[in-house]
């Protein structure tokens, strides 16, 4: 069970701004790591863009689950995990991170921030600690505030898109993805290929 990325974003009126991100791409093959990271940023931004304020959702894409929480104040968090990682813990993590972030970083900085300008060093530590969900969060079985039935489930990324929109088009237009990553996306079914090249066992 694995966490791959943890990001804090701001859902602005016009566009979604990435404020801070932490990644663990160690399980990917060396030459793919930077592309994978870019795709995770791209995905996180897209998901926040297509999620309403005040909602939680889990978006499934092949072996990955992207959990998103967009607060009413437009602060949002996305964690990209595998399909073993318990979603309950993922949402607990998002709640904690956004809470801490909002206390440490002034609201005024959110709409115009970027990973370079925002000062929030704790994110890498959170990602690393939460790799083992039971150590990080001794399963409080009853999460009083979190009503799991309200979490929207999307079975594919495509279901987030408007009618007629294609993921391919969004990828080509994206400013977040470098040329190499875009080319890579065209040649392979991105997520499944990148992952399997570095794993010795298929997870059932």
């Amino acid at each position: 069970m694995k966490l791959y990325s943890l990001s804090v974003l701001y859902k602005g009126e016009a566009k979604v701004v990435l404020l801070k991100a932490a990644y663990d791409v160690s399980s990917f093959s060396f030459f793919q790591r930077s592309s994978v990271q870019e795709f995770m940023t791209f995905t996180s931004q897209l998901i926040v863009e297509r999620s309403s304020k005040g909602t939680r959702a889990s978006v499934k894409e092949q072996d990955y689950l992207c959990h998103v929480y967009v607060r009413n104040d437009s602060l949002a968090g996305v964690v990209i995990a595998d399909n073993e990682y318990p979603s309950r813990v993922a949402f607990t993590l998002l709640e904690k991170v956004l809470d801490e972030f909002s206390k440490q970083v002034d609201r005024i900085d959110w709409p115009v921030g970027s990973p370079a300008t925002i000062h929030y060093p704790a994110l890498d530590g959170h990602l690393s600690r939460y790799q083992n969900p039971r150590e990080a969060d001794p399963m409080t079985k009853v999460q009083a505030e979190l009503d799991e039935t309200k979490i929207i489930l999307h079975n594919t990324m495509e279901s987030l898109l408007e009618r007629g929109e294609k993921l391919d088009d969004l990828v080509s237009k994206s400013e977040v993805l470098g040329t190499q990553s875009k080319a890579f996306y065209k040649t392979v079914s991105f997520f499944s290929k990148a992952r399997k090249q570095n794993s010795c066992c298929a997870i059932m």
Binding site: E84, P86, N132, P133, R134, M139, K141, C201, M204
Partner: protein, 243 residues
């Protein structure tokens, strides 16, 4: 370090009881593997191979017990504790035949399964594993009731090497492990398995009761659709077991 000490202890047996020496070492390795793979399995809860390996280890430990008990039946003299001068108190205790409590091991595995099912809802692998463990307990209760797993020479278990075939393997076991309780007993393999199950004593009713309570608790609190489905299928399977 600890592993080497344990294996050294095995070498304190006199050369004459070679079979027991080998079994002792193998048992230590099996037990060691069981404890060292626990963490990996708990971090890969949808990977069947980790749990399948644990099932293999437990089955091997059970088979070992059957072999040992028959060896002891045939060689009552050899069942005396090994005569080795101990260097210290700890060695004195450990020169006795290392006794593993199979029931305890299986109970621990059930607890492990419970913990994982509660923490990580909706993984079929975990429920499959639970069936295997319950099945092994059921067999153990039939062959070796609680009082006999300490392998004291006085109680001969009545089991023999030929009972090894009752630890199911391969396709027969997988049929018994069917996810959704089969109602179609016209499937030949399945009805052979039920005949076999019916020959063995009824599953320990206390164990069954506890399993049903566990299922009730899961069904009443879980919000994961898959988890509910697996719990219901497990219940159906338990019912077929006791018919």
């Amino acid at each position: 370090m600890a592993e080497q000490r344990r294996i050294d202890r095995c070498h304190m047996y006199p050369a004459a009881s070679k079979p027991r020496l080998y079994h002792c070492m193998e048992r230590e390795i099996l037990l060691d593997e069981l404890s060292s793979t626990k963490h990996w399995a708990s971090m890969h809860v949808s990977d069947h191979s980790g749990f399948h390996y644990r099932q293999f280890l437990l089955k091997s430990l059970i088979s070992q017990t059957v072999i040992d008990s028959s060896v002891m039946e045939q060689n009552p003299l050899r069942s005396e504790p090994a005569l080795v001068l101990p260097k210290d108190e700890e060695a004195a205790v450990s020169t006795e035949e290392p006794r593993i409590n199979l029931h305890h091991l299986l109970e621990e595995e059930v607890e492990f399964s419970t913990d994982l099912i509660d923490s990580y809802p909706g993984h079929e692998t975990l429920w499959c594993h639970r069936r295997h463990i319950f099945y092994l307990q059921h067999h153990l209760n039939g062959r070796f009731p609680h009082s006999m797993t300490q392998l004291s020479p006085a109680d001969s278990p009545g089991g023999t090497l030929s009972d090894l075939h009752l630890i199911p393997a391969g396709s027969q076991l997988s049929q018994a492990m069917e996810v959704d309780g089969l109602n179609d007993s016209s499937k030949q393999g399945y009805s052979q398995e039920t005949k076999r199950l019916k020959r063995t004593p009824a599953p320990d009713s206390l164990g069954l009761e506890m399993e049903h309570r566990f299922i009730d608790q899961i069904l009443s609190t879980c919000r994961n659709v898959e988890q509910a489905r697996f719990a219901s299928a497990y219940r159906k399977w338990l019912v077929t077991l006791s018919q």
